[in-house]
Amino acid sequence: MSVAEEKFARRPVKSAASIEFWHRHVNSISLLGILILLLVAGRIISPSFLSAENLKVILLAVVGTSIIAFGMTMVVISGEIDLSVAGVAVLSSVVGAMFLDTGSAVLVVSVTLFVGLILGFLNGLLVVAIGIPSLIATLAMLGVARALANITSSGKAFYPDDIEGYLWLGRGDVLGVPVPILILIVTALLSIVLTQFTVFGRKLYATGGNVSAARLSGIRIWRVKIAVFTICGIAAALGGILESARLSYINPAAFPGMELRVLAVTVLGGAALAGGSGTIVGTVLASMIIGVINSLLNQMGVSIYLQQVVTALIILAVVLPGLRHRQVAK
């Protein structure tokens, strides 16, 4: 192929890809606008709203949800859903807590992550191998994981007070930046690279966009789906670790309703439940928006239960315009 031909052949592909890129990120730009507006509103309501301290608090409050939402975003892009995240986070943390006596933070953390991986993998198997709709499979997994968490712990909470390495994950800091925020940044970057700049990412969008077309073009759908459920399981376990470490409290009844908060962030971030769309950047921005809104509501003295209602209404407001979701009316 001559140089000219090569140029000719490459150019349209490249521009198509960049159009796709912009198309995917249009939503993020409007989210960024909303976020800035909210921050300005916060600054007007309270002068200290934009202080480093307050921003740190806002970020720390959304770390767990955001990290789990990265996993959820990938699952939703693939056209599935994972309602089991809270159950996975709880069960993996509790099983990890069984190893608290060893005093080894590395062991506790790796066991927790491993359990998350296994549970996510099981979700994937239920959906792909047995063919259970992911909504039902993961709803059942939520129930099973919560039950198992209570059975294995006899309903008792664990206090990882003696393990400094574990607590460091939730409370420590590196050069003044809290560790959870660093982990958030690292996982966000990893997820962005994975979804936007790898072959796997392309397969992921292809699978969610049009399953038949993806299958016919040689993508092994089952691999992609099992992979995203597994990633989501690990993300849920990691989110669970960070939250437990921050509170120094591993509770088998933790994270009630977490799945909806995570789903809210994901949907707000622009992932359509029909699959094939959504970005990690959008999810990051959406979780910041939710964090800022919650912080504003807190400062206005709104109760946590009313915040729950407000969160629900926000999701509704996001999905109501509906055009994105029209094809999944079911």
Partner: protein, 343 residues
């Protein structure tokens, strides 16, 4: 969504119920097996008190699963049933107390006890349930929000509102009507179960003998075809959610009459139970297939099994585990069977 590749069911596979079909139903034989095992392993299992208790348990979860069935038939799902159940009763109590205040009566007496007219509470409860259901339906049918998102939103919002309306304290329900629904027994059958059976008969008549009911199956079977036939499918979807709301409210009345109290976190996770029962009763998640009668059998089976586990001293958490696993196994078997049929 994973539910998108619907199995193509024959339009009009309306399952007509008959005594003959009932006798051939594996669910019936499973119930008999559980009862026999129960009778053999525990002297208490077949006592009138335990039977009445099992039937009372059946009533609440059964009513929820009837509502779920009507929504599932149209190919949608309603995750808000349990939250609606509790919310309706709480609104019933709160609004009645407000009405009492307007009339100059004090119906909320010491210790958060409600001592007003139960009839009014029950009426408002059912109206609230229907309203929530209809709102869900409008969101799903006309505003085109995916049903599980719409009802997940309702679930969260209502659970939050439940706490706000009760301030986190339980309301205690006093009154002869509540006692009647919760405690009284006719020939060994509790009132709550009779309410459940009456609702079942009405719903059964509706889906098998009326045109509107038949359209639920048509919509679940092939929505686009139904729409092109000139049927306004949206109305029937709203109707299905309305029925679900009404059933949830009734379940709330039956459950809270028995507990003599209602508080915000009551019935958490019952939506899972309701789905599990409907699916075990053969209702397809893809829509268009299923019978309320079999959902009833499944709820009896469910309650009888949980009761037996309770008698054996199995902790609630193992019972929850059983519910989750039962759901996975039931849906798993039906989807594997579907694959085999398709091949």
């Amino acid at each position: 969504m994973s539910m998108a590749p619907l199995i193509q069911t024959d339009v009009g596979t309306v399952q007509r119920s008959s005594a003959h079909m009932l006798l051939r139903d594996p669910l019936l034989w499973l119930i008999i097996a559980v009862v026999v095992i129960g009778a053999l392993t525990s002297p208490y299992y077949l006592t009138p008190l335990n039977i009445a208790n099992t039937l009372r348990n059946t009533a609440a979860i059964g009513l929820l699963s009837l509502g779920m069935t009507s929504v599932l038939l149209t190919g949608r799902i309603d995750l808000s049933v349990a939250a609606t159940m509790v919310f309706s009763v709480i609104v019933g109590v709160v609004v009645t107390v407000e009405i009492g205040a307007l009339l100059g009566e004090r119906w909320l007496v010491r210790g958060n006890s409600f001592a007003g007219p139960p009839g009014l509470v029950i009426m408002i409860t059912i109206l609230t349930g229907i309203t929530v259901g209809v709102l869900n339906g409008i969101g799903v049918a006309y505003l085109k929000v995916a049903s599980f998102i719409m009802t997940l939103v309702t679930l969260t919002a209502l659970r939050g509102l439940n706490y706000i309306l009760t301030n986190g304290h339980p309301y205690y329900l006093r009154g002869s009507t509540f006692d009647w629904i919760g405690d009284s027994v006719y020939f060994g059958v509790p009132t709550g179960f009779l309410i459940f059976i009456s609702t079942l008969l009405v719903l059964l008549f509706f889906v098998t003998r009326t045109v509107a009911g038949g359209r639920f199956y048509a919509i679940g079977g092939n929505e686009v075809a139904t729409l092109y036939t000139g049927i306004k499918t949206n109305r029937y979807v709203v109707l299905a959610f309305g029925i679900s709301g009404a059933c949830s409210a009734l379940a709330g009345v039956v459950l809270t009459s028995r507990l003599k109290s209602v508080d915000a976190p009551l019935g958490s996770g019952y939506e899972l139970t309701a789905i599990a029962i409907a699916v075990i009763g053969g209702v397809s998640l893809a829509g268009g297939v299923g019978s309320p009668l079999r959902a009833m059998l499944a709820s009896v089976l469910f309650a009888a099994t949980l009761n037996l586990l309770g008698i054996w001293g199995v902790s609630t958490w193992y019972q929850n585990l059983t519910i989750g696993l039962a759901l996975i196994i039931a849906v798993g078997i039906s989807s594997i069977r579907r694959r085999i049929i398709e091949q």
